[in-house]
């Protein structure tokens, strides 16, 4: 039987752009170029490697996001994923992690899966909790923050490098996995891959296809509220000296003046 791999990918504002908030204090997605979150490329890469190892496998990439989020799907398809699902609905604007995870969970269930693979965190929200929430919602094991992952005999086996220890983990499928940027560099799409991606199916879903009511998601239904966002004041210009042989001593003088020594 074919191994069904679903990869969660997010379309995010480019981190090297001038990211800011919109008037309603949601992330401004209009003024800054968007792209497939770099951290989700690692998830696509591991999915492709697992698929290559399996006898038979199908990789579906899924995103919840605006029209432009198709770019993220197309990038993942050009890397080698087989098909894509795009959940798009104007009522989704401003959803928080609870809303997004609800939509993803329903869409993943509808798609059918043996393993879900996500990135370690989105590069805009950087919460890093969605995979754990998905596991909770789907009622399947979470095998998250892996720097190494493989699937063998219907099991996910992986290594999680934590704060105080490195752990070897094991869970039966179906399961939710997330991988870190230590899991291995993601491949670049080949020219052939880019051409092939244009013909791969992208299914569009709306909230009504998932039996989700408009008032369950979006900014109004978010379980958290941002009251203000202020730009951090630019740091006051510091002293910069050129080392003419005494740079280390000058630095020590500065540290002493600040009572660090």
């Amino acid at each position: 039987m074919s191994l069904r791999i679903v990869v969660c990918v997010k379309y995010v504002p480019d981190a090297t752009g001038d990211r800011h908030f919109a008037d309603d204090l949601t992330v401004d997605r209009d003024d800054v170029d968007g792209l497939l979150s770099e951290l989700d490329e690692y998830a696509v890469e591991q999915a492709l490697q697992i698929a290559e190892e399996a006898d038979e496998a199908e990789v579906t990439v899924i995103t919840v996001g605006p029209e432009d989020a198709k770019d993220a799907l197309r990038k993942a398809l050009s890397m080698g994923a087989d098909k894509a699902v795009h959940v798009e609905d104007e009522d989704l604007h401003g959803s928080d992690v609870m809303g997004t995870s609800l939509v993803l969970a329903k869409a993943i269930e509808k798609t059918g899966y043996d393993v879900v693979i996500a990135g370690m965190a989105s590069t805009d929200g950087t919460m890093g909790v969605l995979p754990a929430i998905l596991a909770e919602r789907l009622g399947v094991p979470q095998v998250t923050l892996l720097s190494e992952v493989k699937i063998e005999d219907g099991k996910v086996i992986g290594r999680r490098d934590g704060d105080t220890a490195s752990e070897q983990l094991e869970a039966s499928l179906p399961a939710v996995v997330s991988v870190t940027d230590q899991s291995g560099e993601a491949r670049y799409p080949s020219f052939k891959g880019i051409m092939a991606a244009k013909k791969k199916p992208v299914e569009s879903l709306e909230l009504s296809d998932l039996d989700i009511e408009a008032d369950e998601v979006g900014l109004e239904a978010a379980w958290t509220a941002v009251d203000s966002a202020t730009e951090r004041p630019a740091r006051t210009a510091g002293t910069i000296v050129k080392d003419e042989g005494e740079g280390g001593k000058q630095l020590a003088e500065f540290l002493a003046s600040q009572k660090f020594i």
Partner: protein, 320 residues
Amino acid sequence: MAEILVYVDHVDGAVRKPTLELLTLARRLGEPVAVALGNGAADTAASLAEHGATRVLTADAPEFAEYLVVPKVDALQAAYEAVSPAAVLVPSSAEGKEIAARLAVRIGSGIITDAVDLEAGDEGPVATQSAFAASFTTKSRVSKGTPVITVKPNSAPVEAAPAAGAVETLAVTFSAQATGTKVTARTPRESTGRPELTEAAIVVSGGRGVNGAENFGIIEALADSLGAAVGASRAAVDAGWYPHSNQVGQTGKSVSPQLYIASGISGAIQHRAGMQTSKTIVAINKDAEAPIFDLVDYGVVGDLFDVVPQLTEEVRTRKS
């Protein structure tokens, strides 16, 4: 007075510093009730009491060590149901965030992660967070359910505030999901004897400019002269010169020390994301145009192989 549930991060009974900081924040909101799980849970009580915990709920079972995350969620949920707190605070470690997030789904509450400050507000706790690589500061609230908030290390001072700290055993029934992910082996990280990166008052970091694992000794020597922790950029980590556990930045640790010294680090946005909120920033870089210099209080344009050893020498002399 309302009770505030505080999840305790400890290693075999030794409470880690971020939990003591959480108690300081919890006292701004109500009376802290601590929840300590796993091996040595009861041994945490003395330290927690000294820092303001009125009660310490403890549970120990093999499941906490043998399976990932979910047993701890089950226990925290049991504590939540027993206490009916006004808020739940959890340290922002990778595991802490996952525990908090799953609890939030279960109890139908919103979650705020990586707060750097907390204060009481008319509509519940107000959390300060950093966004977009710390270029913005936001204030947010949980608007549904009991606020579940994870807080980063170094967000508040550790304060002595003696309280009863009465130990109570927490009854926990594990859910069907609890044994879903088995921990088949665990290798504890070896201690270097240096301060924890996220807790250190001073962090000395090296990047690609350090140019080799063997040269990291220069960075370590400076760190040791200052009693500092050692950090590294991703470029240095990817090159295999320093362990990933020491990486500072978006996909590494986020640090907020009194003093951050960057050597041979250009200051890419992803690196800044993990150190931009440091109080005083110092950089040594041979490229005067390196973006790290936009952040510094004091910068030396020069070769780190000249400047760092001279600095170390000078620190040692001044200290002795």
